[in-house]
Symmetry: C2
Subunit: 413 residues, 2 copies
């Protein structure tokens, strides 16, 4: 099926993708929902206003009144599927001509956070990452904690400081040791995949692994910025806190699970076999290529080239585990995968691993080196699935590192 506008072969957003986002038109403050198509954003409020979104399961003017995706997320797969089918028809070359007036050039809109994120959970589901970090922290004998192969380790993150791609990130102050209070000297990125939750569950009622996919709306890319020196000092015994909560960046377009279905693959063999509540019969990893690049004042180069298929614990296992004690998920919650590393050196998803704790600097094209991020560095992550002539892309999540304040709380002059 062809789209109603020309779409470049390497565009992340063909008709088969239709990722969801929130945006404002130039000169407007009102937030609208949209889907991306090639170089365009489809304005769903405009379509609704002109009677072009007549679905069975939603009022005709539904998208005129939505300023975030939360309500839509809560409605579940049947509603999502109906709207997706309708949009696929409308945006194809078989759709009505009037639809063209709903297109806004993507370069002219301002993207906004697509949903209110009630709770943000960060998993730790890459075996390679956990092994590498554990080796640096505790030595090779104790690299993986004794529980790691038995459950998807996770911690609660900070919702309020989740920012959209493009937001600058200020280097945080914090404690590095008992007498050392300073801006982080080991500022790092973490390459992650984030799952956006659809319908939630009632407190006290777990989601079975077999039902978990019904609660998945889609995915974004996540950069879980980390201050490694602050983290090392603070993380015992209750986990990371300030070293993570100064900023977490997400890509603006939520790629729906529906668009990723053709790219589902089996994950790594799990041995020991997980407990029954963590068993999934179907393949729930994604063959999703991932890249991290670094732009400095004088160079731009790729730092990582990974793939989400290496994750040990899959999203259905994560959801089943998260809720097995009764914890309730809510529409718009974000479940991030944890840093995605793979078996090869170039597949490592953060600088801590890439530079072996700072011991092996990376040579950059401009003749300088990096162990951790410097002020002015721009980190950009991107990802896509390809196959059968289709490319389902995520766009990118990017952010620039700003110099720390002179003193905490005082703006830089």
């Amino acid at each position: 099926m062809k789209a109603l506008v020309p779409i470049a072969d390497d565009s992340p957003f063909p008709l088969e993708n239709l990722p969801w986002g929130a945006f404002t038109r130039p000169g407007e403050s009102r937030i609208r929902l949209g889907v991306a198509l090639g170089d365009w954003v489809v304005d769903l409020a405009w379509l609704a206003q002109h009677g072009l979104l007549p679905t069975q399961q939603l009022p005709g003017d539904y998208f005129l009144h939505q300023e975030s995706l939360n309500d839509f997320l809560g409605r579940g797969p049947d509603v999502w599927r109906e709207v997706r089918m309708l949009l696929t028809h409308l945006l194809s070359d078989a759709g009505p001509d009037a639809v063209r007036a709903s297109l806004v050039p993507r370069g002219e809109v301002t993207m906004r956070l697509p949903m209110r994120i009630g709770d943000y959970t960060d998993f730790y589901s890459s075996r390679e990452h956990a092994t590498n970090v554990g080796t640096l922290m505790r030595g090779p004998e104790n690299a993986l904690s004794s529980n790691w192969l038995h459950l998807p380790i996770a911690y609660h993150g900070r919702s309020s400081s989740i920012v959209l791609s493009g937001t600058d990130v200020r280097r945080p102050w914090g404690q590095i040791a008992a007498d050392v209070f300073a801006p982080s000297r080991r500022l790092d990125y973490e390459l992650e995949l984030g799952c956006v939750i659809g319908p939630g569950n009632v407190l006290g009622t777990p989601i079975a692994a077999a039902d978990a996919s019904q609660h998945i709306f889609g995915f974004v890319l996540v950069n879980d910025w980390s201050a490694r020196d602050h983290q090392k000092w603070e993380y015992q015994p209750l986990g990371p806190f300030l070293s993570k909560n100064f900023a977490t960046s997400i890509s603006p377009w939520i790629v729906p699970l529906e668009a990723l279905q053709p790219f589902r693959v089996a994950g790594p063999v799990q041995a020991p076999e997980p407990l029954p509540y963590l068993r999934t019969k179907e393949p729930w990893n994604f063959d999703l290529h991932l890249e991290v690049s670094l732009q400095t004042a004088t160079s731009r180069q790729r730092l990582s080239l990974g793939n989400a298929k290496y994750l040990y614990w899959n999203i259905c296992q994560q959801i089943a585990h998260h809720t097995v004690g009764g914890c309730n998920l809510q529409p718009g919650d974000l479940l991030a995968s944890g840093t995605i590393s793979g078996p090869e050196r170039e597949m490592l998803g953060c600088l801590l691993e890439r530079t072996r704790g700072g011991a092996e600097p990376i040579a950059l094209a401009d003749g300088t080196t990096r162990t951790f991020l410097e002020d002015g560095d721009v980190v950009t992550m991107t990802g896509w699935c390809t196959g059968s002539g289709v490319r389902i892309g995520f766009g990118e999540v990017t952010g620039r590192v700003l110099a720390a304040c002179r003193e905490p709380g005082r703006p830089v002059d």
Copy 2:
């Protein structure tokens, strides 16, 4: 000053308190804001509707349109003070007679969560508690982690599962060891004080310790239910997760900081002296008596008798630390103190400490014993400040333990 209705000497809610809450009237679903006065709830929507809340800083009909406290929390101390002064006058015996019609018997209303809690942070600020738990987990030599005396340790909790006092709490399933998946056998309570945040800060702009009190609206009691066996297995290396996120209970009435001002006292001596960003000149502990009681099928008795004044890190230090790296707080955020224990055995704020990890059962009045909570047990926490003939009470936070499901996700028959 006398109130317009008789108030018992031992009431937690005299005219000097006026704690804030949200409620519904019998037979209504609409949520209203109110303050408690003796055995009554003052319906602020009614007062606003009848033109009895004419403030300088808010529209006259403001409280007609608020279904949670969040907007009011964001307005800050000047607005809070004006409304408090007006309410104190209106509810005194010098106020207009018409005000009486705004009173609803407290026993007839249904309390609701007073605010939307965007993020919930749980500190670990009692030295006695951290020492006792650390001793049980790691032995007396390594009881306090090396960072503990240098910063207020905390972790991000789960917002979605914060429930109001009176909500039953179902015993959670979870992993106890590699091959053991079972309902928690070591279910515990934790006695905590929770701070409700007023105005937030902009991401990247810390709150100085000296300014922190401007961001405090008030306090509630918190029971941070904990599954100790699940916790022990899961907490390395990223902290507690399922062992805490199945439920956290709070008391329904937020006692304003203004009412607690007369009860501020100095905390424990801090040695080593904290870093400059953590220094507070004024006393920021509260002389707040705390009690935990346990009701079983056949007995009711007190388990703990503590005081919030023993907390090592105070609320202004917690706020300064939380934001020093740039993390933004938002109106309605909840910052809990961590379990409050004191130097004496009866001052220990959880069963893990009271029974030394289950080794020393507590004898109950009915001849049975407890190490951890059993199904049907009701835990109730209460607290009050007294002095100069005034008693500022918190009411209570209570919850009953329900039996675990037969299998996770299946209701009990």
